[in-house]
């Protein structure tokens, strides 16, 4: 097999159901209109097929994966396949007993996200009371000697809390702290004006993260993900389209990223009907943006084409209406103006409070 296109990670979105309502949720806007979740047997087959394709890491995600009552079975089966299994959760609803059971069954890592170091701030973002239970979940994770990742999605309202967030992760003895700026797609794009930090906020946060990273090297991995609205070049989204990741969404669509099916004109197949290997190698959706044949100008002649692969296809579409153009986040992109004007708006909005549009199941995207 050509290792250029080998999936190392399967992101299994077990459900879109979630007790929280974060306004930057990465689930599709119309998730409430999705069909039925795929069943246990289908997931078990998908894990088998993914492992045979080369997958070694499994992220159990959602929505809230704890809402699946077959989670025990899924983790045990992943463990039999020797997959490194990471549970991405809010910790709600969870008991110490259930977490202990998941560990015994072979769970390798738990990632808990917090929205702020302040209970009221955190609960405001989450749209539900959750802060104290998240901290309790982290303590359970540590008391079971499970590795802990703390994830914080950064935006205008919490980016000033960098030091406190790092301090909280240290007190929890986290192994890894992800300080990831919001990716402005889906719900976050709806709420961009309320969420996008200013340049000054980003630069301050970046400096704090760099110093924490140096100070904590060897004990806690600190990862700071810049919003690409403030980068010179776009991110290598998912390490390139259909190169390293497979996402299987709650209804069984296999995708190069969790929003790929929201792009028009692409065809993706469902694991209910197809073998994952066929989908990975042969589906038109996965092959659409592989290789260099599809690259637009100026990517085509750019030295960075093998580094960032033209950037994010979803961002290209959502900001320009065209999936095949250079990601506007790139300073060389013809459509970079849309990013610059969003930055200008963010600097004008500094200090002002804006209401969020909370995630709901109405599916207003397609109205």
């Amino acid at each position: 097999m050509n290792n250029e296109y080998r999936p190392y990670t399967l992101i299994a979105e077990l459900t879109y159901r979630c007790p929280l309502r974060c306004p930057y949720c990465s689930n599709p806007l119309d998730y409430g209109r999705q069909g039925n979740e795929i069943d246990t047997d289908t997931w078990l087959r998908v894990f088998d097929e993914a492992e045979a394709l080369g997958v070694v890491q499994l992220n159990l995600s959602g929505g809230e994966p704890l809402l699946r009552d077959d989670l025990e079975l899924l983790i045990a089966s992943a463990s039999n396949l020797d997959l490194y299994t990471n549970l991405i959760t809010s910790g709600i609803p969870l008991t110490f007993e259930r977490l202990s059971r998941l560990k015994v069954l072979g769970l390798n890592n738990v990632q808990v996200s917090i929205q702020s170091t302040r209970p009221t701030g955190s609960d405001r973002i989450a749209g539900a009371p959750s802060f104290h239970r998240k901290l309790e979940t982290m303590r359970w994770v540590r008391s079971l000697e499970l590795p802990l990742t703390v994830n914080v999605v950064l935006h205008r309202d919490n980016i000033a809390e960098m030091e406190e967030l790092i301090g909280l992760a240290e007190r929890m003895s986290a192994d890894r702290l992800e300080l990831a700026n919001v990716q402005y797609l889906g719900w976050a794009l709806q709420n961009r004006t309320a969420l996008l930090p200013t340049l000054e906020q980003i630069e301050r946060a970046r400096a704090i993260a760099a110093s924490a990273k140096a100070r904590l090297r060897g004990t806690m991995e600190v990862v700071f993900v810049t919003p690409d609205y403030y980068s010179v070049y776009p991110k290598s989204c998912m390490d390139g389209w259909g190169r390293r990741f497979i996402v299987v969404n709650p209804e069984g669509l296999a995708l190069p990223c969790h929003l790929a099916h929201t792009l028009p004109g692409l065809r993706f197949d469902n694991v209910r009907h197809c073998h994952l290997s066929d989908i990975w190698h042969h589906s038109s959706g996965f092959n659409q943006f592989r290789g260099e044949g599809w690259l637009p100008d100026p990517c085509r002649a750019c030295d960075r084409r093998t580094i960032d692969f033209g950037g994010c296809r979803c961002q290209a579409f959502h900001l320009t209406g065209n999936t095949g153009v250079t990601d506007p986040a790139c300073s060389l992109a013809p459509d970079h103006g849309s990013i610059e004007s969003a930055r200008t708006r963010a600097s004008h909005m500094a200090g002002k409070s804006v209401l969020f549009e909370y995630r709901t199941g109405r599916g207003f995207c397609s109205q």
Binding site: M1, V56, Y84, E145, P147, T149, R176, A214, T219, M220
Partner: protein
Amino acid sequence: MLRMINSMTNATARPRLSPKARLRFDRRTGCYLLLYPERGLELNKTATEIARLCTGEWTVDDIVLHLARVYGDTSSGEIKRDVRNFLGALAGRGLLQGLS
């Protein structure tokens, strides 16, 4: 922190893989992978051998001597450097513990 990482490569330290790190054979390449959250390292033969000996029982010196024997290298200067570099790289990623 750098001090701690150096201490891990002291001759008498007994490195142990941290709970978040897991060795896994990769059928596709015939190599071992060292997996940890969101990441993995593809190990060559020597690195695999070293990682396997990070059980908390072997000292860094024991590991160097063992490899020198396996590879029939009596000088072991180069092996010592390789072992220290590799352990330093693991420690920097938080993949070693139990060494102070």
